[in-house]
């Protein structure tokens, strides 16, 4: 499973503070910690409160690049910040994210082509997030069609069925799982599937966040999830992930299978 570490995001107070004070050690520490917890890529988001997102993105990417050349998922809704972030990446970047809006798809798939980037496609558009799997699949189809139109391999596309917080949109979880299952039929090679996992427990009691996250992740893996943006430093979450993958026969069993995964 492809793991994108979520921690370098200005929504977190420590990151917002580090960006403001230009404290490299916090960012570099988070980067290395997530890599040691088996992240395959790191999400980079300057956060909503940033006064100068371009400058903040440049500083973040350059700061991370000083300690690692791991792939970065440039996470922004602003076109100019996205292009700047992509242009600074050393390893194959990931665009986080496009959605099914026509203009968005035009501009971001061009960027994906230009920077040889993978791209995360959210199954939402101007009207918002569909309430059921059928609606999500319709948007997924539009995104896949646009991907093909721009000559990008469909397996470079990560479809994100957008999970909403369970405390406000309980009926969505099972629709997301169905979308993950059905997305595989949209193209050959099949598009990959991804989840911004922590959203499922957004607003829930702190005591249960990790439990909700790992339970949903396990269910998603059982439905064929390929990638997730998640907190790789959450040990119980990672143990559940490794065990779910084991049960899906992605790894050969041995008594020390948790250790074996972490040795990879």
């Amino acid at each position: 499973m492809f793991l994108i570490g979520e921690r370098i995001n200005g929504m977190f107070k420590d990151v917002a503070k580090a960006i403001k004070e230009k404290d490299k050690s916090v960012i570099q520490g988070l980067a290395l910690k997530q890599i040691s917890c088996k992240a395959n890529a790191l999400d980079v988001n300057v956060g909503p409160a940033s006064s100068n997102p371009k400058e903040a993105m440049e500083w973040l990417v350059k700061t991370i690049k000083e300690v690692t050349d791991i792939s970065l998922a440039i996470d922004t809704t602003k076109q100019d910040v996205m292009e700047l972030g992509l242009s600074l990446c050393k390893s194959k970047p990931i665009i986080n994210s496009v959605n099914a809006n026509e203009e968005k798809m035009n501009s971001l798939f061009s960027l994906a082509k230009k920077y040889n980037a993978s791209i995360i496609g959210l199954t939402m558009d101007k009207a918002g997030i569909p309430k059921d799997s059928e609606g999500r699949m319709e948007l997924a189809m539009k995104i896949v069609a646009s991907c093909v139109e721009y000559g990008i391999d469909t397996n470079e596309l990560y479809l994100d069925a957008v999970i909403l917080p369970v405390n406000v949109a309980q009926s969505h979880a099972k629709e997301v799982l169905k979308t993950i299952r059905d997305s595989k039929m949209l193209a050959d090679p099949a598009p990959k599937t991804v989840l911004g996992l922590s959203n499922v427990s957004q607003g829930s009691s702190a005591e249960y966040k990790s439990l909700i996250n790992r339970t949903f992740l396990t269910m998603a893996i059982a439905n064929g999830l390929d990638a997730a943006i998640l907190d790789v430093t959450d040990k119980e979450l990672m143990d559940s992930l490794i065990t779910a993958e084991l049960l899906m026969e992605k790894q050969l069993y041995c008594d020390s299978y948790l250790e074996a995964y972490r040795k990879k």
Binding site: L252, Y253, C254, D255, S256, E259, A260, K263, K264
Partner: protein, 301 residues
């Protein structure tokens, strides 16, 4: 029709054995002998068995190839290298078993030194297969051959600590064996690595079944191991060894059949294991050795 060539994400580790004339095994980035796919920088090698005593269990048709050399391990080893072109020698310290001659560790060490003097090819060293006695003998022998970078066996799930520690301190490689159980094989490699033993000094043995005696079973486990290793499972991405001679000549057909049956039995078993990904074949009969080396040459060139 378009041929689909599999692209593997990982490679098998490269293990170097020997000091004077070291050889490399492993390093594959594909399956052996598949045209267009196999990238095997180090072709499989053949080791010949030399015992520290005349092997009573061997049939005459096998013994007769070595004559009086069977009584002198140094001469025997030289014969295997000089005349029969063995790539390595596999010293089997059979006489150390308490039910055999119960030879002491010191004597076993002397035999090992004798062979190290007699030949410059790399050595594989196996005990008498009595777990307790082997711990004693192997610890002594590993030390006696310090710096020679031999391949020592055999570590099992129930008995790996002494041998691992001995190999670690004397700089040897190790054979980890799980009897046709891929899950235990992986577990054992983790346990060995937990002792700070480098993964690129481990060679896997899944037990060997001769033709007609479980060959298909071992074959499929070896194939699965290789596929797992190439797919990124670091704890299974080691080269593999097969003790072909020992098993082929245990078959009743080999012992009691027509003159060449044993040789053919050994060749058939060996070539099957070549295809399942074996990197070292330990063999007995010179004619079988020469035929299998020819086959390796044909397959790889």
């Amino acid at each position: 029709m378009e041929r689909l060539i599999e692209k593997w994400q990982d490679k098998i580790s490269e293990v170097v054995i020997g000091a004077k004339k070291p050889i490399k095994i492993g390093g594959e980035t594909g399956i052996y002998f598949i045209d267009g796919e196999d990238k095997c920088p180090n072709p499989p090698v053949v080791a010949m068995e030399v015992w520290d005593m005349e092997p009573e269990s061997w049939p005459e048709v096998l013994k007769s190839n070595f004559g009086n050399a069977l009584k002198d391990p140094g001469e025997w080893a030289k014969l295997c290298v000089d005349k029969f072109s063995a790539d390595l020698i596999c010293l089997r310290l059979a006489s150390t078993h308490p039910d055999s001659k119960n030879t002491s560790s010191e004597e076993a060490g002397k035999t090992l030194e004798k062979i190290l003097k007699a030949v410059s090819v790399p050595l594989i060293v196996i005990g008498g297969l009595s777990p307790e006695k082997d711990n004693e003998v192997m610890a002594h022998c590993a030390n006696a051959a310090k710096g020679e970078n031999c391949l020592f066996g055999i570590a099992t799930q129930d008995n790996y600590k002494t041998l691992t520690a001995a190999c670690l301190s004397a700089g040897h490689s190790i054979i980890s064996e799980a009897p046709i159980d891929i899950n235990i094989a992986k577990q054992l490699n983790i346990l060995i690595c937990d002792m700070q033993f480098p993964a690129d000094k481990i060679v896997i043995h899944h037990a060997t079944g001769a033709l007609g005696y479980g060959l298909e079973y071992t074959y499929s486990i070896m194939e699965r191991t290789r596929l797992a290793g190439l797919s990124g499972d670091k704890m299974l991405s080691m080269p593999m060894i097969s003790f072909v001679g020992q098993e082929a000549w245990r078959a009743k057909e080999a012992k009691t059949g027509a003159k060449d049956t044993g040789v053919l039995w050994e060749i058939a078993t060996a070539t099957a294991y070549l295809n399942s990904g074996a990197d070292i074949l330990v063999m007995n009969h010179p004619k079988a050795v020469s035929e299998v080396k020819k086959a390796i040459n044909n397959f790889t060139n």
